[in-house]
């Protein structure tokens, strides 16, 4: 099976899990391995960022959350961004301009993660949720139709951040995933040790940069195949006619 087809099927599963509440199943104990609002009327899984903020507010050491995040990180790292996250899939659909990533600016998502934690602690409120573009699509808009939300200032803030993010996505492929996603930052911490990883056979690489042109994250896969920004989508593997890059699922032997 072609890699892109396998990825689309996997992304389809991510979307399906995101709206599994349509079957009538209520909220489960599962922490979602991506950015997906738990307030979504059809959600059956828990948003890791929303939960993290609540645990900060209540001052609870997050054993359960930590176990789940480390598990996701160890299994695939940011592979979940490329293969599973519904908001990542939306980023994918709007990936028209695969421009080079700004490496310094890509650390802004870690600032977003720290800012989310700090704001939850300082204001004792889930501040990130109020600007989260995933929540705009999955909560604000659906609840407007369910008669719970109204067109008010918080709603317009949500629509504003969503609009800004969509424009960003159109102008820069995977804009949200590159620069702003706090969940991407969390998973990125494990990218260099995760079982799912890109592997490069230097003897096959001619340095043609076909992989660079194809990378939605704007990386140079033949040089940065274990970069913290790599979402392991496999676009570079398909672009490489010399089979220099492969996607593996195994523990890494060397750092």
């Amino acid at each position: 099976m072609r890699l892109s087809l396998a990825r689309r099927i996997s992304q389809g599963f991510g979307l399906l899990l995101g709206i599994f509440g349509i079957t009538g199943i209520g909220m489960t104990h599962i922490i979602f391995p991506g950015l997906h609002c738990y307030a979504c009327p059809l959600a059956v899984t828990i948003c890791p960022i929303g939960l993290m903020q609540n645990l900060v507010i209540y001052g609870i050491f997050p054993y359960f959350w930590l176990g789940a995040i480390v598990a996701y990180g160890l299994i695939a790292g940011r592979g979940f961004c490329g293969w599973f996250c519904p908001f990542g899939t939306l980023n994918d659909l709007l990936s028209f301009r695969k421009v080079r990533i700004n490496n310094v600016a890509s650390y802004s998502k870690y600032a977003m993660l720290l800012g989310t934690i700090f704001a939850a602690w300082a204001f004792a409120d889930t501040m990130f949720c109020k600007i989260c573009p995933a929540a705009s699509i999955e909560a604000s808009i659906p609840y407007l139709f369910l008669g719970v939300a109204k067109v008010n200032r918080p709603f317009l803030i949500h629509i504003g951040t969503l609009g800004g993010t969509l424009v960003g996505m159109v102008l820069i492929a995977r804009f949200w995933c590159r620069y702003l996603c706090p969940m991407g930052a969390l998973l990125g911490l494990f990218n260099r040790v995760s079982f799912l990883h890109l592997s490069l056979d230097r003897t096959h690489c001619s340095g043609c940069v076909a992989c660079t042109v194809s990378c939605p994250m704007g990386l140079e896969p033949h040089k940065e195949y274990d970069n913290h920004n790599c979402i392991k989508c496999g676009e570079c593997i398909q672009a490489c006619s010399l089979d220099a890059l492969t996607l593996r699922f195994s523990p890494k032997r060397k750092p």
Binding site: I46, N54, W65, A68, D125, P251, K254
Partner: protein, 331 residues
Amino acid sequence: MKRILPLTLAGILLALLAAAAQEPTLTFFFDPGEVTVTPGGEAGFRLVIENSSVHEADDVTVTLKGPEGFSIRPAPGVIEQLAPSTNEGIDFTLSASSDLPHNRYELLLQVVYTYCIDVSCFQIDDELTLPVMVSEEEIMLSPILPQGKRSPLIWLAPTLGVLLILGSILLWRFVGLTLPLYLVLVLLIAGGLTYGVVLKQHEQAQGIAAVLCTSCVGIEEAKHETPKLDPFTISALARLEEDVELIVFYAPWCHSCPYAEAMVEAMAAQTEHITYHFINVDEQRDLAVSYGIVRSNRTVVPAILRLETGEVLFGVGELEERLLSLLGVEK
């Protein structure tokens, strides 16, 4: 006579001073503020006693006065001396008898203590109430763990974890050993998930995700102020002729819920036709579901239900107007 008058005045003054001095000097807090217990089960709570006065409080004795069917350990709870400007807690275990019907109760605790000013000593008799919910299924949704169950060892595991991670990262980066890092990560996953489940953190997580607080995800702005009724609202409420029963569904962690509760209380204070109840959806989710305070599997708070019609209001935006409309009166 000349001596009797000053003595009498001095006596009256002393009596007045004594009466003025005989003021409660202690303040009390419960943690958690509400306890859930199963019939025949036990639950822990802590009574924190704060002495903000300049006098030492002695023999602070806490006993249970009621209602029947409950008991506490230790009985009585005693703090022999509580120094000025200090606080101390007593960890109690509450037991509920197995034949207690499911309901909300108010635990009545009597606190007796003494304090002395010079040679004058005063005994203060105070009464405290603690809301107790007796329900079959003890739902541990309140993320605040009772203080009594916390142990100093609670930070041992995180500290050990951090040290292990740092050590394994150093080995990985500088020696090239990946195995210790993988072992530590697997240990973190197994330990974190297992201990989290033991602490019922998975249920807390589910509870947080299953209840939608309208101000928490930015569906509307949180309101923290005390509601003030418009004069036209007050006159409209005076015209209310039929009896109305309202139920306010709230969650303890919801930012706008106190506003909704206060608004209902303020309106009910204007007319005898409104009766109301508060229901904590964290503890009585089934009740919330049975009353339809649910939108696509999410219990939404704050929500105000008019029992007679089944109409529900969600959130706090323009609540005064919407509540009047729910009550069927116009400004």
